[in-house]
């Protein structure tokens, strides 16, 4: 589907992602990032046409946790605003549709998550089927290990190949000052077979923000806007028993709808918290070795839950802004074993 209006990512900011941030509230963590994207575009809160955020009450450990972040935005006079209880990539999708209607020309999108106060592996079990699965407390690493085992058994990868994904990601992350895990990181012991600590994402806290703008407004605000040529997301069945864990049909369909296969991309930012998931996504997205995958280090270098997907879009856009990419793909995921997937295609104007 070709969007009816040209909409671009014009600014992106993120925190330094860290294992703990005890001294900061979520609002305090978020605020510098909001200011960063506003400063970069010269916009003020009152200039923004629509605001949308993504976060999760279960990470914050309390209901209505997003309301405090709104206070940080400075929603006065009142603003047009919404929130998704999802990764910020889906907040960006909601903002994109809002701009498409013509009701707004600019949008502020932000997302944040602090995993450090609790055990994120346990917390994520609460998003499973509450009657049959959640009572068994299968944690996120164990579920990802099931997927990794299925891939190895299918001959799609092996432990050595997974280790090379980890090493490449963290080597790339040395160029990313915000990343949590950088450079040579030992592959470590098994966490849940066949996954070693190196195959798993770091647990950390972080926030990110993006500004979207439509048409000429985007050109005014950014030298080289990252035009969203297409964006789509799809969900799969929840139960792992009815899915082929070695494949990601929802990613493939979202990519198709976003126009990803119409022309090759030069860069892909994939939200693959586990090395094995990059294998699945590369296949679904038909990415060959000519594509630069996760130059930021990806979620293996920093995985602030609820912001990590938005960061993939932001990182891809930032490369377009800097002239390091002409056509980039960004991907975000949600749910166990890549249940829900979003794909965006970003392009810069011809140089």
């Amino acid at each position: 589907m070709r969007p009816l209006r040209d909409i671009a990512v014009v600014a992106f900011g993120q925190t330094d992602h860290r294992r703990t941030s005890d001294e900061l509230s979520e609002v305090e963590m978020l605020l510098p990032v909001l200011h960063e994207v506003l400063d970069r575009t010269g916009l003020q809160t009152g200039d923004i046409g629509f605001t949308c955020s993504g976060s999760s009450d279960y990470l914050a450990g309390r209901a209505f946790s997003f309301t405090m972040a709104l206070d940080g935005v400075g929603a006065w006079p009142p603003i047009s605003e919404s929130h998704v209880e999802m990764d910020g990539a889906w907040a960006l999708y909601e903002a994109w549709t809002k701009l498409l209607t013509g009701d707004a020309d600019t949008a502020l999108v932000y997302a944040y998550g602090k995993s450090s106060p609790g055990s994120v592996r346990d917390v994520l079990t609460r998003q499973l089927d509450p009657y049959y699965m959640a009572p068994l407390w299968p944690d996120s690493v164990a579920l990802a290990a099931l997927q990794a085992r299925a891939l190895i058994d299918a001959g799609e990868t092996d432990e050595l190949a997974l280790a090379s994904v980890a090493a490449r990601s963290r080597a790339s992350a040395t160029a990313n000052s915000h990343a949590q895990l950088r450079g040579p990181v030992p592959q470590g012991d098994y966490l849940v077979r066949p996954l070693r600590t190196g195959d798993c994402p770091p647990i950390g806290d972080g926030a990110a923000a993006v500004i979207l703008a439509a048409g000429d407004r985007a050109r005014e605000l950014c030298e080289r806007p990252a035009w969203i040529r297409g964006i789509d997301h799809r969900i799969e069945a929840h139960s792992l028993g009815v899915r082929d864990l070695t494949d990601s049909p929802s990613t493939r369909l979202a990519a198709e709808r976003a126009g990803a296969f119409e022309r090759p991309v030069d860069t892909a930012e994939l939200h693959a918290p586990f090395t094995s998931q990059e294998v699945v996504l590369r296949k679904a997205l038909r990415l060959d070795d000519s594509v630069r995958v996760n130059p930021s280090g990806g979620a293996l270098a920093a995985n602030p839950v609820m912001a990590a997907g938005l960061i993939r879009i932001g990182e891809a856009a930032a490369r377009v802004h800097r002239g390091e990419s002409d056509r980039a793909l960004a991907h975000a995921t949600s749910g166990p074993c890549l249940q829900q997937n979003l794909v965006a295609v970003l392009e810069g104007d011809a140089r």
Binding site: Y58, T67, T101, P130, H238
Partner: protein
């Protein structure tokens, strides 16, 4: 650029009750969705995307339940979005779904909101301690009672007005087969004699805790043309938010509510809401919010809202009926309550509200609010397609 007009062609809700022990969460939402599809005479295959909303995940104890509900709502292979904007979420969810149609991203969208409060304890869910913040352990009633008191002091409203609203809404609920509270023996005296919970709010002036879901099928002009029953057309929709607590906040009549209504009226070409709008489904969890919102939404001048209530203007047979369905005071599955307001507004202009139908309702406002009176979402629907 012009937006695609948005039509409501299917509406479904569950019979709201204190505890639906016979169904899972998935069973509950599927029931409402299937009723909406049946109303539209469509199948799951006709739906391009699903937009789901509910209030905090702690209310059922399921984190991001849309993941688990994807199968039950026929969303597998489709886009599914989960909205959460506190108590206004039911309305916001419908507006996010409407935007998908208006932006021509999708042709036909299923939107649904729910709460299954019996799965957990809402009061507990709202009372988790927050570091560095003042605990608000008094529940919603304790938070809103001082604002009601401020309204009474500001306007000089007699203290009988709240019970009039409760008496009216509970009688209206008797005409709505889906309403939770069906108090057949209700009298004004009974409302006035009920225990004082949070002075000046009495027990019978508060909302119940309900299990329930509400669903709507939204579609574009082509979809509306195929609709077997009259569609409701969206003439305007908006969301506004303001901070929770700050020195300049008017808790009695928040600016965000005024701005939100003004935006909807501008889109719909409403010059005088009292004259141009036939009926209102507004979010009234505590009875006094009816006169307060009448002013906030521009149906009465400041300080005059209670006079409309007292004069019977907001009765089902009145000049401006309010909460014909029985409202939040009779049915409150929190996350769904906003969408029920939106859906009831649409039912009215489709002429399908049954016993609580307002004769000749052509343009009806649906209203929702949430948080500390800080999140607002509204839509105005009409029997005729929008002018532009």
């Amino acid at each position: 650029m012009s937006k695609e007009p948005v039509a409501v062609v299917g509406i479904g809700q569950t019979k709201h009750v204190a505890a639906r022990r016979d169904v899972s969460i998935a069973g509950l939402v599927r029931e409402a969705a299937q009723r909406a599809l049946r109303d539209a005479e469509l199948t799951w295959a006709d739906i391009d995307a699903v937009v789901i909303g509910k209030a905090p995940d702690f209310f059922e104890g399921v984190m991001m339940p849309e993941l688990y509900l994807a199968d039950a709502l026929g969303a597998v292979g489709k886009p599914m979005l989960r909205v959460h904007t506190a108590g206004s979420v039911g309305g916001s969810t419908a507006l996010v779904a409407a935007n998908l149609v208006a932006a021509r991203v999708h042709g036909t969208v299923l939107t649904l909101a729910f709460e299954k409060q019996s799965e957990s304890n809402a009061m507990w869910g709202l009372s988790l301690p927050v570091p560095f913040q003042q605990p608000l352990l008094a529940g919603a009633g304790g938070f809103f009672a001082p604002h009601v008191r401020a309204y009474m002091r500001r306007t000089g409203a007699p203290d009988t007005v709240g019970s009039l609203v409760a008496y009216k809404d509970r009688r209206n609920a008797l005409k709505n087969p889906y309403a939770h509270l069906h108090e057949h023996d209700i009298t004004l005296e009974k409302v006035q004699a009920s225990p004082m919970l949070w002075d000046p709010i009495r027990y019978s002036e508060t909302c119940p805790s309900s299990d329930g879901a509400c669903a709507m099928v939204l579609t574009d002009r082509a979809g509306a043309a195929r609709s077997p029953r009259p569609p409701a057309w969206m003439h305007g929709g908006a969301m506004r938010s303001e901070p929770t607590l700050f020195a300049g906040k008017d808790c009695v009549s928040p600016q965000a509510g005024k701005d939100c209504a003004a935006d909807v009226y501008r889109q719909a070409g409403v010059a005088d809401p009292r004259r141009d709008i036939d009926a209102v489904e507004m979010y009234v969890p505590f009875s006094w919010y009816e006169p307060m919102w009448l002013e906030n939404l521009g149906f009465a001048d400041e300080g005059e809202g209670w006079k409309l209530t007292e004069a019977g203007v907001t009765e089902l047979e009145g000049d401006l009926p309010v909460n014909m369905s029985g409202g939040v005071l009779s049915t409150n599955p929190i996350g769904a309550s906003g969408m029920i307001r939106f859906a009831e507004a649409a039912l009215q202009v489709r002429g399908q509200a049954g016993e609580h139908q307002v004769d000749g309702a052509r343009r009806v406002l649906g209203h929702a609010y949430g948080g500390g009176s800080q999140f607002f979402s509204m839509w105005l629907v009409g029997a005729a397609p929008p002018a532009s």
